[in-house]
Amino acid sequence: MIYHELIVVGGGLAGLRAAVEAKKQGIDVAVISQVWPGRSHSGAAQGGVNAALANHPDSADDTWEKHAFDTVKGSDYLADQDAVAQMTKDAIPIIYEMEHWGCPFSRFDDGRIAQRPFGGAGYPRTCYGADKTGHYMLHTLVERAAAAGVIMYVEWFVNRLVVDDGVCRGVVAYDMMKGGFEFFQGDAVIVATGGAGRTYGNTTNAIISTGYGMAMAYHAGVPLKDLEFVQFHPTGLLTTNILMTEGARGEGGYLVNGLGERFMKKYAPTAMELAPRDITSRSIQTEINEGRGIDGKGFVHLDLRHLGAQKILEQLPGIRDLAIHFEGVDPIEEPIPIVPSQHYSMGGIDTDMDGRTIMPGLYAAGECACVSVHGGNRLGGNSLLETVVFGRRAGAAAAEYLGGLAAKKGSAAAGEAAVIAACAQVDDLASRAGSAGAEDPYAIRLGMTTTMKDHFGVFREASVMQAGLDKMIDLKQRVRNIGLRHTGGVFNLDMIRTVELEGMVDVALAIAAGALARTESRGSHSRTDFPDRDDANWLRHTLAFNTPDGPSLESKPVALGMFEPQERKY
């Protein structure tokens, strides 16, 4: 058994920012991560982070209130407006703080942090470091955590939460380097494990973005909120779905169809390529569906050639490298073939604006959480912002909770039982290793990723979704009979990926159930059979609770008050 007052699961931006905050407040905090923290998926973020710094010549009168309005409008009014206000206010000092900690933002000539236009934003307020902003922010926080002396457990796979009498008391984790399960006792736990992109077969996300952290909370009785809202980024590379930043359009890139038209003029005549992602992805998908893809095929072009070599090399060097290495296309010479690709989970573990869940001692922050500040559709540049704002707030709230506890480090009995349960889970999987009736976990994984891609994509409709839900229910049955292929102790990928799969299927089921239930179109959730937003019935959050019979759906009101819901036009 290993004890720390606070256990942070996940070493991406949200987890590190939470840990640094707690450490600052004198808390004994440790981060547990499946990968060395600097390898977390936060580092793949490219285009930037929003804050109303008013540095750009065209944003002199920008304010946090305008940032809040753009965010709420972008969310299709499903975001909680009090949380959005908090985030957009916190944005300004927290970006300066990242800069003071060394984050290498690009600069304007006057030495201030550079900002670029981004989708759905009324002002150029996206602060950036070339097109590698996530990498720069992540390394800055890894460095800050090292400076602060935050303890890291690297290459441990967290398998389950430990809950004792309704209170979170730690986690059980698998030691990838040495083998075996260990109980990490903690008086509070912050889950910061990222999104669930890998439940889809066409995602921009890292391979470790499985949604397993969401599943752990869900299995422990904490509801998942608004999971049906899945963001499709307009511009994933055709072959690999690797992200081509929105910053490419922020710098002036065009979207072009098979007829050579900048087709966004039909869908968002004012914002054009910088419409919010839900609208832009639907526009691209419509062009493709109606036969106006390139050569009538299933993709369109992101054309940067008119920006010129110098601008591409200075502002978008990472995009160019990715296009060359992964698509064989140099954007200076040729347009980039792109498709809408699963990119972000707006939904997640239900929390308040301080990361609290309904379970005492359990907090969540970052993409695995749903505060909600993104509602039905997240604006580009608001996810990096969310990680540091709500990572910090969750770290502070956990520190406050720990300060108020009468006693710490209670009984280890629940943790010991949880370790036994984790071992039994693996023994059970191992008992079917190589047996005739055992299901192939990778066939089930492929079934899930294909089902989610084909049945719960950019456009949705009841009969297609029902067929998809039936497939997921079948996969859920089959997942009970999966067997391991390898039972070794050290760095057992087969075990990790098989255990992960059980959580992924549950998260995918909750996405599916929520999507089928929500009989309206809002943000990223676009139904051809219910094309309009229905505020009378659906201006509310979905809550999914885990039951033996699958997800049980409830709802929760949206916090309004600053901005009246209105029709979105761009």
Binding site: V35, G38, D110, L493
Partner: protein, 245 residues
């Protein structure tokens, strides 16, 4: 269907040397369905999922930004995710873990020492000044000095390739020193002499003999050697003139 032939270096700490030949190591061959977009990392996943569930390797972003999957592929340092099989010729694709590193299992090597050395150079911005209310001003010219070293993904390729690391286990190596350089040239850094002792010593910059393997090995095309030479000069300037940048 066309196939790609993978030859993978294996190591299982649970098996004795007797079972596995010399020092418990061996090579296994696998055939993977070929398509023109196939990457080495995708090939490894195909093998792990379909042919041999016991295969171990590191992975994360599959987009060349996280640094997890640095390996030795056909005798060169490469990121498995960024390496297209199409570009490796028609022969067998030989995949080995980063050379000269302690092994954990198969393609996974022990990076503990690598990261200890990274931490040893105090890899963070140091400042004494009271922070301004807004950003610390930095001109585009000053900021440009950071281009390059800030793109390091700490994959370990340079470290694994450096003969000075092989010969002198104590040597900090190119990645850690490039990180020191990144902060020493940052106009916002006020470490003055606080970081200096971490690299201006017998395990630091002077162990670099400009062999430049690191430059060749780096999958992000960075130049640690150049940064290390700058640090040598900075250390001397600081000792003699007491002047930093």
């Amino acid at each position: 269907m066309p196939e790609a032939k993978f030859r993978i270096k294996r190591y299982d700490p649970a098996q004795s040397a007797d079972q596995n030949g010399a020092a418990g190591r061996r090579y296994d061959e696998f055939r993977v369905p070929y398509e023109s977009s196939l990457t080495v990392l995708e090939g490894l996943f195909y093998i792990q999922e379909n042919l041999d569930g016991s295969l171990s390797f590191r992975y994360c972003c599959r987009a060349a930004v996280c640094g997890s999957c640095a390996m030795y592929i056909n005798g060169a340092y490469r990121l498995a995710c960024q390496t297209n099989v199409r570009h490796l010729g028609d022969g067998v694709i030989t995949v080995e873990p980063l050379p000269h590193m302690p092994l954990v299992k198969d393609l996974v090597c022990d990076m503990t020492e690598f990261f200890e050395k990274y931490e040893a150079i105090k890899p963070y911005l140091m400042r004494d000044s009271v922070e301004p209310e807004k950003e610390i001003a930095q001109s585009p010219h000053e900021r440009k000095k950071l281009d390059g070293p800030i793109d390091c993904i700490l994959c370990g390729s340079c470290y694994s390739s450096c003969p000075s690391v092989w010969g002198e286990g104590n040597y900090l190596g190119p990645a850690a020193l490039l990180k020191a350089y990144r902060f020493e040239v940052d106009s916002r850094d006020e470490a003055k002499k606080a970081r200096l002792p971490s690299f201006d010593n017998e395990r630091g910059t002077y162990r670099c003999h400009t062999i430049t393997n690191c430059v060749e090995a780096c999958p992000k095309e960075l130049n640690p050697t150049e940064g290390i030479q700058w640090l040598k000069g900075a250390a001397v300037r600081r000792r003699i003139l007491g002047r930093a940048k």
